[in-house]
């Protein structure tokens, strides 16, 4: 990719509080969540299902406003501002009436990529993730995992300095998942955007990130922030090192603690 100008921005969340009304009651979902993704950093978010990770993304994307707290991008208050991040939703969210390549193309064009370039990139990258043969198909003929990869590609190619990925590889088999991780790392290492990455896989978080935030069950708070010390570019066999195993155990322990704390 060309974007040498597209260096990452700093993303800061300050004391985000959010509750939803369910019937008569208000349920607190996010309880004072603060976290930072420094420019060019890769940060993962791990937390139990229902802890509010996707909700947090909606705050960052500006489609919902927090009850309290602020979203800062490059130090400026951007709470409730839309269109500043590149985003991959948890559900693939492809447009059923657009062919695969048009799904990618339109998203890129509407976020500022010139038309010609968007077309070339879509074609070239679909080929690269071995989905070139479905470029002219409508999404409903694709498998769930294929749709997810296309949604991933759409987020990856978007020219935004912060990228938020919500469980991008959840529906993939181990090998495809490893491929996707490799591409993500390659691209990220080339242009160093800031990435906030939600996953349920501790290994995945450890392989990819610089830091990991572990969230408690809802109402979510940050239980711990862990620094992942492995050198970049990551070796393919980091997961064999004793340090890796130790960190994994640590995260697992935190999640279990949070879990038993609520039961």
């Amino acid at each position: 990719m060309s974007g040498s100008d597209s260096r990452g921005s700093t993303l800061e969340l300050e004391g985000i509080v959010k509750s939803y009304r369910r019937g008569k009651e208000r349920t607190l979902v996010l309880n004072d969540v603060s976290l930072t993704v420094r420019a060019g950093e890769f940060v993962s978010l791990i937390g139990p299902s229902g802890s509010g990770k996707s909700t947090l993304f909606r705050m960052i994307g500006g489609v919902e406003k927090p009850d309290q707290g602020r979203v800062l991008i490059d130090g400026e208050d951007r709470t409730g501002h839309k269109g500043l991040i590149s985003y991959m939703p948890q559900q693939a969210a492809l447009f059923p009436w657009l062919k695969v390549e048009d799904n990618i193309r339109f998203a890129l064009v509407s976020t500022g990529t010139p038309k010609r370039e968007a077309k070339e990139q879509a074609a070239q990258w679909l080929e690269r993730i071995q989905l070139g043969h479905v470029a002219k198909e409508y999404p409903h003929v694709l498998s769930g995992g294929m749709q997810q990869r296309i949604s991933f590609l759409r987020a990856l190619l978007m020219r935004r300095s912060v990228m938020c990925l919500d469980e991008p590889f959840a529906a993939l088999d181990a090998l495809t998942r490893a491929d996707m991780q490799r591409w993500l790392l390659e691209l990220w290492e080339a242009d160093r955007r800031s990435v906030l990455f939600v996953t349920h896989s501790i290994e995945e978080a450890l392989v990819l990130s610089d830091r990991i935030y572990v969230l408690s069950p809802a109402p979510a708070t940050v239980l711990r922030e862990l620094v992942v010390p492995f050198e970049r570019p990551r070796r393919a066999d980091v997961w064999t090192s004793p340090e890796f195993v130790e960190l994994k155990r640590e995260v697992l322990r935190l999640l279990e603690e949070g879990h038993s704390g609520t039961v």
Binding site: G83, S110, Y138, H140
Partner: protein, 236 residues
């Protein structure tokens, strides 16, 4: 004889066929006139329906203010409105077309209006997150999502358009074309076989319009797994 049916109450199918054959040249010109009128009426009505729905959708205050008027437009009976339109617009095609537009635009507008509001929330949220403009949201999400609704409205409009055209022709005393005119003529002449002949023409044209819409829907909406043609296989 208890079962004797006089020719002036119910002519035999053979009589109808013979009559239609005898009158075929005349019938054909009338069918063409009615078909053309219904087609233009349906097209205009659809265009008006789309325009009205889009306007009401984009400017929400209009929706609350004008929705009752939409319903009202359907409450005035054609046989009352027709003569009025003729007084205002003369005996040309204009009053007939206005009548057809009034009939056709309503189901189309109403169903699109529902469709425009139904767009998938996930997609709506996605567009919000990436910062798509209002226009993009309309163009990429709301309008395409409403197309299936448009077609269900169009099926209703297509079902009614031919018989409404007949009413318009029946009322439009000055103009002397169309099956409606033919029907009126034969009706007052007590030529029951010819009356039934025109009913055959009306039914056939109505079916034709309906299938044209079904076909158009198939051509336009290609992104769905093709639904089984329910009205064909429901009985089998």
């Amino acid at each position: 004889m208890a079962f004797a049916i006089e020719e002036y109450t119910l002519p035999a199918p053979s009589d109808i066929a013979v009559k239609m054959y005898e009158d075929s040249a005349v019938l054909w010109t009338h069918v063409q006139a009615t078909f053309g009128l219904a087609l233009v009426g349906l097209a205009l009505g659809t265009a008006v329906g789309i325009a009205v729905a889009v306007l009401l959708h984009i400017v929400p205050p209009f929706k609350t203010a004008l929705s009752p008027l939409l319903v009202l437009s359907q409450n005035v009976p054609l046989i009352a409105l027709g003569p009025l339109l003729i007084i205002w617009f003369g005996f040309g095609t204009t009053p007939k077309l206005i009548l057809l537009v009034l009939v056709c635009f309503f189901p189309v507008a109403l169903s699109i209006l529902v469709g425009l509001g139904q767009a998938e929330p996930h997609l709506r949220e996605y567009l919000g997150m990436i910062g798509a403009s209002r226009w993009e949201r309309f163009k990429r999400l709301e309008f395409p999502a409403s197309l299936t609704y448009l077609f269900s409205g169009l099926r209703i409009a297509a079902t009614y358009v031919v018989s409404s055209a007949i009413v318009a022709e029946w009322l439009g005393a000055g103009a002397n074309t169309g099956i409606g005119f033919y029907l009126k003529l034969k009706f007052s002449g007590f030529q029951q076989a010819a009356v039934f002949g025109s009913i055959v023409c009306i039914v056939v044209m109505s079916l034709l319009f309906f299938y044209m819409v079904v076909l158009a829907e198939r051509l336009v909406i290609r992104w769905r797994p093709r639904p089984e043609p329910e009205w064909k296989e429901a009985s089998s």
